[in-house]
């Protein structure tokens, strides 16, 4: 991935610079990226980039860059422990640097050559290389680099036990460092001097350098150097025979060492732990929060549902029980009332019959009999009464058949002489409508039976009940009898019957039409009203 990204960067850089821009910028960029790669330890990628840059630098004839890139490649080979290759490139760099008289590059090359020799174990070979490098650095005023190079020679002598020979070198390094005004290098040089003095058993001098070095270390806040100085001090006192002081300082060193370690480690561990714990805790907290809120909402939902269900169940149960109870009560009451109405009607009917037994006057008897038929018309309604959803309704077809038969019977007519023809559409009517309607029909049929067929005349009566297109209830009672004019009608009795029809029709908002062709016919059209059932 990194590889690809690097190439993308390089490619984009290439694109940016290929037109008009100076190629040296691209070269610089390439070298820069490669250098960064070296620092990141990605040596292979760095090598690729350097080779690319090298090609570019060579074609453009940039000697200084070529030498620099050769040097860098040599360095990478050295890092990869490929010293042969490293030497090869180093020579190339050296040649190029000499050709363009790049002293700095030459000095660097000498230094790296020295390092290579040092690593291959050839101390005698590396010392002159370092010295040459140092001389050149000093000549071109790069004192810091010079100090490093000389110190390296000193260190070699030190490891070889050639302390006396090392002394002037460390002094030169110290001088170069102070010339470079580089405090850190000065500190290193002073420590070297102190160590060397100790090695030469020149303890006072060693202590002198040590104190200077300590001040520098404190000023620079260099803990590591400070610690090393403590160790050195302890050795110095040991050498001086001051074992107690040496021990004290050694303890100090150990304490410092431990504390540094501890501080470091503790700090690192603590930081890590804190980070880890925090992340873990946060994750856990988040998870718990989620779970909790989920559980919470789930619990809440369940609780709410349960409460609702319980409430609803309770309310429903109570309601249904109440409703059932109320319904039962209502039904019982209605039955009771119906029973009483029926009984009362029966009493009425029986009364009229009882009364009629004592009446001798014909017209009075007629009147009572009419009363009887009227009560019977109502009685029949109550027999046919059936309970709809909330209305007491009567099935009209069945009712009218019964009414007709009853009337025929009460007038002592059989079906042979006068026939009633029914044209009744099946329908259920509310009892409030059925009773007046029944009474109207009772009157009309009674009239026909009484007056239309005198002297054993045969005939028929038509009872028709239907609904017209505008939902109006229509009633027609017609006979094919002698007609109104021919009928022998005693005034008092018909006037009451007709009156009754008028009154009841008015109650039902009916319009009466009378027809006198072919007997006698009455047509009543009622206003639309509610139908039962």
């Amino acid at each position: 991935m990194n590889y690809i990204i690097t190439y993308l960067i390089v490619f984009s850089l290439f694109l940016t610079f290929q037109h008009g821009a100076e190629a040296s910028n691209l070269l610089d960029s390439l070298s820069q990226v490669a250098h960064e790669k070296v620092n990141e330890g990605q040596l292979d990628e760095a090598m690729e980039l350097y080779l690319q840059a090298l090609q570019m630098a060579e074609t453009e004839g940039k000697g200084k860059e070529v030498a620099s890139i050769f040097y860098s490649i040599a360095l990478i080979h050295h890092f990869q422990n490929n010293n042969e290759k490293s030497r090869e490139y180093l020579e190339k760099s050296m040649d190029k640097a000499r050709a363009i008289k790049d002293s700095s590059r030459i000095a660097r090359c000498f230094l790296l050559s020295g390092v290579l020799e040092y690593h291959s174990g050839d101390m005698e070979a590396c010392i002159p290389l370092f010295q040459q490098s140092a001389d050149i650095f000093r000549a071109i005023g790069k004192y810091a680099s010079a100090a490093d190079a000389i110190a390296k020679v000193g260190n070699i002598y030190e490891t070889q036990g050639r302390y006396v020979e090392a002394t002037p070198l460390f002094e030169q390094s110290h001088k170069a460092a102070s010339q470079a005004q580089d405090t850190l290098k000065l500190l290193t040089a002073t420590i070297n001097l102190s160590g060397n003095a100790y090695n030469l058993h020149d303890y006072p001098k060693a202590l002198e350098y040590l104190n200077i070095a300590r001040e520098l270390a404190v000023g620079l806040e260099r803990d590591f150097e400070y610690q090393e100085l403590l160790k050195l001090e302890s050795y110095i006192y040991e050498g001086m025979g001051e074992l107690k002081k040496s021990n004290e300082i050694l303890w100090k060193y150990v304490e410092h060492h431990d504390s540094m370690l501890n501080v470091d480690r503790t700090r690192q561990i603590a930081a890590l732990e804190t980070k880890y714990e925090t992340e873990k805790k946060e994750a856990t907290i988040q998870l718990q929060k989620k779970q909790l809120s989920l559980q919470h909402s789930r619990l809440l939902a369940i609780a709410v549902i349960l409460v609702f269900a319980l409430l609803a169940g309770g309310v429903l149960f109570r309601l249904t029980r109440q409703l059932r109870k109320r319904n039962e009560e209502k039904e019982f009451l209605i039955k009771e009332i119906h029973h009483r109405v029926k009984n009362n009607l029966q009493v009425l009917s029986s009364l009229l019959h009882l009364q009629s037994r004592h009446i001798k006057d014909e017209s009075a008897l007629d009147a009572v009999r009419e009363g009887q038929t009227r009560v019977e018309a109502m009685s029949l309604i109550h027999q046919k009464l059936y309970m709809g959803d909330n209305l007491a309704a009567v099935e009209m077809q069945d009712y009218l058949y019964n009414l007709g038969d009853t009337l025929l019977d009460s007038f002592g007519m059989d079906n042979e002489r006068v026939k009633i023809i029914y044209d009744v559409k099946p329908m259920h009517l509310d009892v409030d409508i059925a009773i007046p309607l029944g009474l109207i029909i009772n009157e009309l049929v009674t009239n026909s039976l009484k007056y239309a067929f005198p002297g054993n005349r045969n005939g028929k009566i038509e009872i028709a009940l239907w609904k017209n297109k505008s939902e109006q209830l229509c009633l027609k009672v017609a006979d094919d009898g002698v007609g109104k004019d021919a009928a022998h009608t005693p005034k008092n009795s018909t006037s009451f019957g007709t009156n009754l029809v008028n009154i009841l029709s008015k109650k039902l908002k009916g319009k009466i039409e009378k027809q006198h062709e072919n007997g006698y016919a009455t047509l009543i059209v009622f206003e639309p009203f509610r139908m039962a059932g």
Binding site: K335, Q346, S349, S350, L351, E376, Q383, D405, D409, S410
Partner: protein
Amino acid sequence: MCSTKILLLEDEPVIASDLKKVLEAKGYQVFHADSAAKALALCDRHLPDFAILNFQQKDIGDGMALACLLRIRYLVKILFVTGARSKDLSGSPDYYAGYEVLYKPYTRRQLQKALSKFLT
């Protein structure tokens, strides 16, 4: 007296007298009772052939128990007169099964029909 005897149980005097008149006009001997106890006493004394029972007497409620007793003990044929229809009553779908029934309020024609069917 060898005419047919009819027990009439009816606590409503108007209805009872009307019925009695109708029946007597037909030549029957009628014994009227306005309570179940009286009815039983009359049965003991006169051993009627028929009984016309008001189904819902105040003192006996449902007349079915009395009807059963009369039928078994005195071998009386029963006609119920009732203001309640079969489906209004508790129990089997047809509560009056096996009995003749005349529903109140009856018309003269219905009464005659029922009686002619019953008194044979």
